[in-house]
Symmetry: C2
Subunit: 295 residues, 2 copies
């Protein structure tokens, strides 16, 4: 496996770009209330693969979007993602102590401040879009809210909770993940594209297929890495799903079949992008990276 | 004290109106994930004074706003308020068991579901505005986000946390409450007004003064009622602040001076509204009600 295929060079520049943009969008750590702002920055900065931001930038290129406009979408999806991790790691949820190679937010700042930091990160995501000079800001906010809310990410987390220790069918597992991770990945792709020229219906449908394929592929790779990876390589606790008896793609399909499914989804993503020309190069590269990543 | 002054008749109709509007905006309880949707409805429906919604409707009348438009703003502020109560009542925050005369959301649904319900109620607030046919939706979303986030309500909660058991000056207490309760009350007033004809600068400033006065007045009355009220009359645990050794207007000013301050703020609110004509009648009535309320 060629590491250059798995981690495109441009993505490093864009990951740094969204880091700076997030840095600027977050309140300074010495601004009152300091504990809250420090916790927000701790949770949102300095880590993560930024895959949602990268997808937003890459799909912005389909319609020639200015990267300066896509920044707002990229920040917003990363803030929603960061908030979800903070709340997901809380003792009443996954009770996790390690995230992105650091103590989780509530370990570092206490539960109450972490709760508020997650809350305020969510709010900030909407504030960023609402203050951006985007011609379609209202529609983009609606899209992000749908993806984050009870019919999207939060809904997926509720299904996940309800299913712990339940036998889960493959269909139920896919539905849960389509909400829990898929919805925000889909939103990242759509929000980026919305910053550029309008797509025709066939292209729009193709982009939805791409987003669905990489969203599911991303999750299956997560399950594979949870089995094969180490806390060191992942930056978070490994082997948790099995320890909790949670259904995963690996537990339901087996490791080999899960990997075959990842390869199929990568092909589906590439096939969907045939509807576009050279503008889809970076989306194609991200489909590879998502399938081949090691953390 | 005349109860008709304290509880204007029109406000009952409007409280019912926002209840129906919320009912329609919230996902049905039998929609998957059921536990999450049931918890969201439990937390947002069937209770509360709806003071934020009433303020939005009343200030909409300054510029002749259609109540159907103000509904969106009223729902949004009530959803933000409901989310904040759910999270504020969690064990890692105030650890409260009684709210609006019922067990708190986490007592009824468990901590994890309550956490997600609060999260999804916040998201829904922004979704409602983003999907509303409001000519100023983007600006209204920005306004609501500022009021709810780390420089508003969530920031006030963080200050409150940091100050438990601290000696607090009156200035610090006012700053904390200006954020914790004042910011969302201010947003309710501004969001309602934004649904009507534009105000001139003098009117806009006057409305800000009104909002600041009723916001602070509302909080001082809360502190007074926490001392004088019972759980039965309040629908929530009484005497909590004193039990936790928290600084309140009553602990810093004494009961009599706190009541005098409420009366002064009521006057300030009425004086601010002199900038308006008869359109301010309901805002005037709410200033009375906020000062004279018994729960």
């Amino acid at each position: 496996m060629n590491p250059d295929v798995a981690w495109p060079v441009w993505s490093r520049e864009r990951a740094q770009r969204v880091e700076s943009a997030l840095e600027g969008a977050l309140p300074a750590a010495d601004e009152s209330p300091q504990s809250l702002h420090a916790a927000m920055r701790y949770a949102a900065l300095g880590g993560g693969k930024r895959v949602r931001a990268l997808l937003a930038y890459a799909s912005g290129e389909l319609g020639g979007a200015d990267a300066g406009l896509v920044d707002h979408a990229a920040i917003a999806v990363e803030l929603i993602h960061a908030y979800s991790l903070v709340h997901d790691d809380l003792p009443c949820m996954d009770d996790d102590v390690l995230r992105r190679g650091k103590p989780t937010c509530h370990v570092a700042y206490g539960e109450a401040v972490a709760l508020l930091a997650g809350d305020a990160l969510q709010t900030l995501a909407f504030e960023v879009l609402a203050k951006a000079p985007l011609s379609q800001a209202q529609a983009q906010i609606a899209m992000l809210a749908e993806a984050a809310g009870s019919h999207g990410m939060a809904g997926g987390q509720a299904l996940d909770l309800a299913h712990v220790e339940d036998a889960l069918s493959l269909n139920e597992l896919e539905r849960m993940h389509a909400l829990k991770t898929g919805a925000l990945i889909h939103a990242a792709v759509r929000l980026g594209a919305a910053c550029g020229r309008a797509l025709d219906q066939a292209q729009s449908d193709a982009l939805d297929r791409y987003a669905a394929a990489v969203g599911l592929g991303f999750q299956i790779v997560d399950d594979v890495l949870d089995v094969e990876g180490t806390a060191h390589s992942l930056g978070k606790t490994a082997g948790k799903d099995a320890a909790q008896g949670k259904a995963t793609y690996v537990s339901l399909l087996g490791l080999d079949a899960a990997k075959i499914r990842v390869a199929e989804l990568r092909d589906e993503a590439h096939t969907a992008l045939l509807a576009f020309g050279a503008g889809a190069r970076r989306l194609n590269e991200l489909a590879d990276w998502i399938a081949l990543r090691k953390n």
